[in-house]
Amino acid sequence: MLRLLLSSKEFYPVRFFLASFLLSGLIILNVSAPGTAWAGDVTQAIVIEDAFGRKISVNMPVQGIVVLNSDVLEVLRSLRAQDLVKGVYSEIDKDGVFFQEFLDRPRVGSWKNANAELIADLNPSIVIAYENNPGTELEKQLSPFGIQVLRLNFYKLGTIAKEIRILSKIIGREQQGEIFAAWYGKKLDAIQKRFDYIKEKPLVYVESYSAFHTAGPGSGGHDMCVYAGGKNLADEFKVPYSEITSEWVISKQPDVIFKTIAWGNGFERKDRVFFNNVRNELAARPSWNLIPAVKKGRVHVLDSGIWTGPRAVIGVAHMAKCIYPQMFDGLDPEQIHKEYLEFFQKIPYQGVYISENLSGGAK
């Protein structure tokens, strides 16, 4: 019977019909298989602008997110969107105590070099990465799977509230996003408005993680300094992270010095010994005793946790209080931090984040 069907010319239409039927079946099977570009119920799409300034049409609802850095993970937790996180960056273990609830999520590679295959396996709707890392090859690798790559930084003070709103819109947590962004703006405004009548701002030297590397315009550290009411020594630099000489710092005579460190985790720190050691080493650099900031004991060391990320507002509060101790006498940065961790992050307040006890508490 089958041989007759295949050999006879009279059965051509039947064979054509059968072949079409089989082909259609295969296409349907393929389309509905997980991991393909057509998976999921695409009900609507919204257009957002990411950190690159690209208009991106994001398919809604977002059913899963792969997160490539700690900044976006922290914001997602503030938006109560932990359930959407399908995969995380591999370095998360370094912040294991802070991000405990995410430690069971699959790792997809480094913040600057994610593994496209692992991401495709998880079949998220979107991947959120920094503006410049990983490179745009990630978009090319993931587009055949229908996975979109969204570039949001969450480390620039000027854009963080906007990015919170964008993210909250995409994941359908607009109310939480609005509360969080408003809180953020309110805290920053409360500090900012006090500088309206300040004519001459104190000179501030900001030292990044590596010795003698400062933060100029374009870097998160510079933004923080400006938001905290300081005049950055490097405010006319064309390079965001530049090496400078000790001689230059001395010749500029900064009134305040801030140094940030990225060792361990402020959240797990119990005392200020490490910060104080770093501060003392800084003050003991050759000829730094000639700098007003060193003479007056105004050298401060900050933890990377409150430096240029979602908690930068807390860092700014600390810095503002260090730069203008009298003006911000009533400001308690630790209280802001406590509010942030307990209300938004839903984790208990703990840790030590700066070399000085500015709040007057026990630690």
Binding site: K112, F237, E243, T245, S246, E247, A262, W263, S287
Partner: protein, 349 residues
């Protein structure tokens, strides 16, 4: 008649060598003078507004801030730059002589990569961003480790130049890959720190660093000079040198160990300044010829001049930024090297 001819020829050669020796000594003195002049210039320029007169006066009298800046910041930097140049130039000359290879340098032998890997370990696992001595110690450990590996393989397979070069190249790739792997694991702050370390910097140079680095660089010098004549004989080939009484494998192994120590003394404190070890000996060879008695001190002086010039330019040409020294050495070294290479009419290697 024949004896007379030979005596005259011998006398001629002696006179020629004397003239060459005299020329080389004059050239060495000239380079020493150049290095001194650049050192004085380097002491007089910087980011602060101290005048040249005040800078020079600061060396002999207490004129307040100028003295502090010159003695505490500029002078250590100048000394460190000279030391590093001397260390890299000398070790490069030694590597090229004992391995009889123009491409041999501390970096083609994997010593730079291994130091880099040590620094990366320190930055990623031992707080190297804050604790700079962790970086120094780990970089030092790995330079020694790579040297021991080269020497170990060479001892096992026979200390030929080819074995050492191939082992060195293999180690270079291994340590580079390991560094890349750790960078892959690092956070963005750590990756920043690693990148800057690989650029090289003299910003952290202080008298303590000078003493430690100086011991590692200068202590092996007498031994290296002691071998200079053996190096000359080894250029004719291992067998010829052996026939003339040189313990070829012994000299080679010890020289590699000493040159490695000098290299680690140079780069552990400052990061990778890769180009000097390769180019300083070539420049020296083009100017001084191949006699290691002069080639080695000349490489040291030229290395010192190159590093000091590069650092002085790097910290003054784009004030107040510092252009990393690893970049500037290539900027000024490569054109100079190419110029000499093109101008040189006879084969120099």
């Amino acid at each position: 008649m024949n004896t007379d001819c030979l005596t005259i020829k011998n006398q001629d050669m002696k006179n020629q060598y004397k003239a060459l020796k005299y020329r080389s000594l004059v050239l060495l003195a000239a380079f020493f003078l150049i290095a001194s002049v650049i050192a004085v210039i380097a002491l007089c320029v910087g980011a602060s507004s101290i005048s040249v007169t005040d800078s020079i006066l600061a060396l002999i009298e207490d004129n307040g801030m100028a003295r502090s800046i010159v003695w505490n910041l500029r002078l250590p930097r100048v000394i460190m730059a000279l030391l590093i140049g001397i260390g890299l130039g000398t070790s490069g000359a030694v590597f090229q002589a004992v391995l009889r290879n123009p491409l041999a340098s501390p970096f083609t032998l994997g010593i730079g990569s291994s130091a880099g890997f040590g620094a990366v370990i320190a930055i990623v696992f031992f707080n190297g961003l804050v604790n700079e001595y962790a970086v120094v110690i780990w970089a030092f450990i790995f330079t020694l480790l790579s040297s021991f590996l080269i020497l170990g393989v060479s001892r096992y397979k026979g200390a030929t130049a080819e074995t050492m070069i191939l082992t060195g190249i293999a180690l270079m790739f291994l340590f580079s890959s390991l560094s890349s792997f750790l960078q892959y694991l690092g956070t963005k702050e750590e990756v920043h720190g690693i990148v800057f370390w690989f650029f090289g910097s003299l910003s952290k140079a202080g008298y303590r660093e000078i003493v430690m680095s100086g011991i590692m660089i200068l202590a092996p010098m007498p031994f290296v000079f002691r071998f200079a004549f053996d190096f000359n004989l080894m250029t004719a080939g291992d067998e010829s040198a052996g026939a003339l009484g040189v313990n070829v494998s012994g000299v080679r192994m010890l020289s590699i160990a000493l040159a490695s120590l000098m290299t680690s003394g140079a780069i552990c404190f400052t990061g990778v300044i890769g180009f000097i070890g390769l180019v300083a000996p070539h420049i020296a060879r083009m100017i001084f010829g191949s006699d290691n008695l002069f080639l080695i001190p000349a490489s040291a002086l030229i290395g010192g001049v190159l590093v000091l010039s590069a650092d002085t330019l790097g910290r003054t040409v784009w004030l107040p930024h510092v252009i990393p020294i690893g970049i500037v050495t290539s900027f000024i070294g490569v054109p100079f090297f190419l110029y000499l290479l093109i101008k040189k009419t006879k084969e120099y290697w």
